[in-house]
């Protein structure tokens, strides 16, 4: 069988690569000490600590930090499915529209999760401080806003694609 490299197959291969790399990067981050006390102090410079961090705080902060990455993995899986459909020539189908919508929801979810997780991590890291010195910090940056906007845009495109796919299906029933 003759194989042909198209944009769709290249994108599909790239997404497969990212799907393999993401867990590898997550494991590497855990092993290489991204969640050590020093690294967390650098990541959260505004969190005032009066005691050194306990083991459970480091573990909980690490687990919380992995939640958005897990959602990112799911988003990548949706994108992989979308490019797979494109590679099979099924671009204008309800399945492709569903994948685009799911990607949009996922991206907006990552933006929202970043916000919540960061806040939860500040609570965890300052949990052993004396009463009155514990803190809850909410960080809203351009990354979160950008992800929410991009997610919303993809969701709308997905809905438009669903309508277009329905129209195309109806058109195919005409001779």
């Amino acid at each position: 069988m003759k194989s042909r490299l198209t944009v769709e197959t290249a994108l599909l291969a790239t997404t497969w690569g990212a799907l393999v790399l993401l867990p590898a990067v997550m494991i590497w981050a855990l092993v290489s000490g991204v969640f050590t006390q020093e690294a967390l102090i650098q990541r959260f410079p505004d969190v005032v600590r009066t005691n050194s961090l306990l083991g459970w705080q480091l573990c909980l902060a690490a687990v919380l930090g992995l939640i958005p990455a897990t959602l990112a993995f799911w988003v990548l899986w949706q994108v992989k499915g979308l490019f797979g459909l494109y590679a099979k020539g099924q671009a204008l189908t309800p399945a492709a529209a569903d994948r685009i919508r799911a990607t949009g929801i996922g991206l907006a979810g990552i933006g929202l999760l970043n916000l919540v997780v960061h806040a939860a991590q500040t609570v965890v890291l300052s949990a052993t401080n004396p009463a009155g010195q514990r803190m809850l910090a909410i960080e809203l940056g351009s990354e979160e806003v950008g992800l929410a906007l991009m997610g919303g845009l993809l969701f709308v495109i997905g809905r438009a694609m669903a309508d277009a796919a329905e129209a195309a299906t109806e058109l195919r029933a005409f001779v």
């Binding site: 109806e170 029933a173 005409f174 001779v175």
Partner: protein
């Protein structure tokens, strides 16, 4: 309830023409013509209808008929 029934088979018989030849003349696949003959399509384009009428030398009314069917 009224339904549109395609009377293409009748016209083909009257003109002594095979479905395969008609499909070739009007430029659609035999499969699509078969779907049309059996009423398994949602609609027919004016362009297709015009070509069929031209080849079979008939009017749209000779090919399509509105029939009443009892409601279920």
């Amino acid at each position: 309830m009224t339904e549109i029934v395609v009377r293409l088979d009748v016209m083909l018989a009257l003109r002594k023409m095979k479905a395969r030849d008609l499909a070739a003349e009007i430029g659609i696949t035999e499969q699509n013509l078969s779907l049309l003959r059996n009423g398994r399509v949602k609609g027919i384009r004016f362009a297709t209808l015009a070509r069929i009428c031209e080849v079979l030398e008939c009017q749209p009314g000779d090919l399509l008929e509105a029939v009443s069917v009892p409601r279920n």
